[in-house]
Symmetry: C2
Subunit: 303 residues, 2 copies
């Protein structure tokens, strides 16, 4: 029967562990069935640039066409020039905050429309495929199998929560309230007779990475996950927490497929003593997913 | 057909508006069907004391039996003595923070067990009924009718989120991730081999009242509600936001039933110019629910 399960996962020990977890769920009370997924590099491609960065760059180009003086600002200059070196010098955080200012004063609905419009036409920087098809087909199959077993599926992203929410239903069938991410602070005001929320350029709390993700699980979900999936150090605590559950599945995506996607190693450890996070994951007993070996298909077909 | 709907709501203009809203939902895309409910005074009784206060007092009595010196602390003394005047002098916030210290170091699971154990035996201070039956039957019927129409139902409480979550599934059929409230900050640590979250005594962000509730809607739900229900000034912004939707239902519970519940008016306005919030609600066009006139039954039957 499980031959028809997860058709894009190649037979082997990794798929066996995933299917074993799916089978074990039957014995768990429905209210304890919780699974959490990182987004960038776990559900969709994060190379060569984050999709959210592509969106910010797109909005900056449009804004700079109308107001050329924007290009004089160093944080915007490096983005418009694609100047990786200059960006590293300024620091990614400083650039990100400057880009967030582009959306100050927008309502959540404005912002959402702007993201969905972008996704309707954006293509991936190196493959030329529609950005909306850069999701990993094997992971979409896993999301579906989990839901078929009454597992509540959440996305816990380091990215901006509204950015992911704008596409989460269309791409992942996950409703906005089941997406957790980094948040902008809002201001409540009345515009004429209509009360609304308005974006500021300030972050609301820390970026949603590392221990902040586990804190977000408690604040937002209020339940411990049985399954966590991630691909970088920002997912470590979430993976640890899920790995301690029973039954549990801690899935670490290894980007080892230079041919079909990208080959790169996220690192863990201290500055003096770095190791690929896959090494840490093996020691911890997590399930390492080799994109190259374990997946027969990587990307979702264009609709 | 709508005769069988909401049996604990008496026929009349209030019930007609509620049923009208339920009918109108059929034309709304499923993904936009969102309803939010305050808890204290809206879904369950908040007089003479908040259920969470009863819980805190109960835990304090147990702690003070083991450590009598706790009673020397002024914030605890006033609670143990039921000294309303002393409590007002110290300030409710100071007392609440001191009580929160009782749970410092607990895991979310410890805390949750402690709340459900309390609810299994606690009785209401003035009626003597089990605390778990002090929920409003008409509101439970409304929650069910909304879910039957594929409306996503959330609780947005000023109370502690973990307190409400511990009973939300049993009392309201609302899963923990659909409860938003005031939050304590957590610390992530490993206990032996087991990673866990541990409660601190610090609040994580402002108490979830007033504009903070609307901010929480955006952070947590990411969608605007069509229906909001509340009973006090802390719900004003949430009610305004829902009232501006279409279709919309802004329900304000008026505690005007001294015989079956309590008669009291939450106030709105500035210190110099206070008015009952029902006056504000009428001007705004909200639907005022008279407990006395609109509900044939108030409390849920004991199971």
């Amino acid at each position: 029967m499980s031959d028809h399960l997860l058709p894009s996962w190649r037979p082997g020990p990794t798929r066996d562990r995933v299917v074993g977890f799916l089978d074990a769920i039957a014995d768990v009370p429905v209210s304890d069935r919780v699974a959490v997924f990182d987004n960038d590099g776990t559900l969709w491609c994060e190379r060569p640039t984050y999709a959210q960065y592509d969106f910010f760059e797109d909005r900056l180009r449009t804004a700079a066409a109308a107001q050329p003086e924007l290009a004089d600002r160093p944080e915007y200059r490096v983005v418009l020039d694609g100047d990786q070196h200059g960006m590293a010098e300024l620091g990614l955080a400083r650039v990100a905050f400057a880009l967030a200012e582009l959306f100050e004063g927008q309502t959540p609905e404005d912002y959402q429309r702007s993201v969905t419009e972008f996704f309707s036409r954006a293509v991936h920087r190196s493959t030329g495929r529609p950005l909306s098809t850069m999701t990993y087909q094997p992971m979409l199959e896993l999301l579906d199998e989990l839901r078929r077993r009454d597992v509540d599926v959440f996305i816990v992203s380091g990215g901006g929560v509204e950015f992911v929410r704008a596409v989460s239903e269309a791409l992942y069938d996950v409703t906005p309230d089941r997406v957790v991410g980094s948040s902008i602070r809002y201001r409540y005001e009345r515009r004429g007779d209509t009360p609304t929320l308005v974006r500021t350029a300030e972050l609301d709390g820390p970026p949603n990475e590392g221990p902040a993700k586990v804190d977000a699980l408690q604040r937002h979900l209020g339940r411990r996950p049985l399954l966590a999936a991630g691909n970088s150090l920002g997912d470590r605590e979430m993976l640890e927490l899920a790995h301690a559950a029973s039954p549990s599945l801690a899935l670490l995506i290894d980007h080892d497929d230079a041919e079909r996607e990208f080959a790169y190693a996220s690192e863990a450890g201290t500055m003096d003593d770095l190791e690929p996070i896959t090494e840490l994951g093996r020691r911890e007993g997590w399930t390492i997913v080799s994109m190259r070996d374990d997946w027969s298909t990587v990307f979702t077909d264009a609709p």
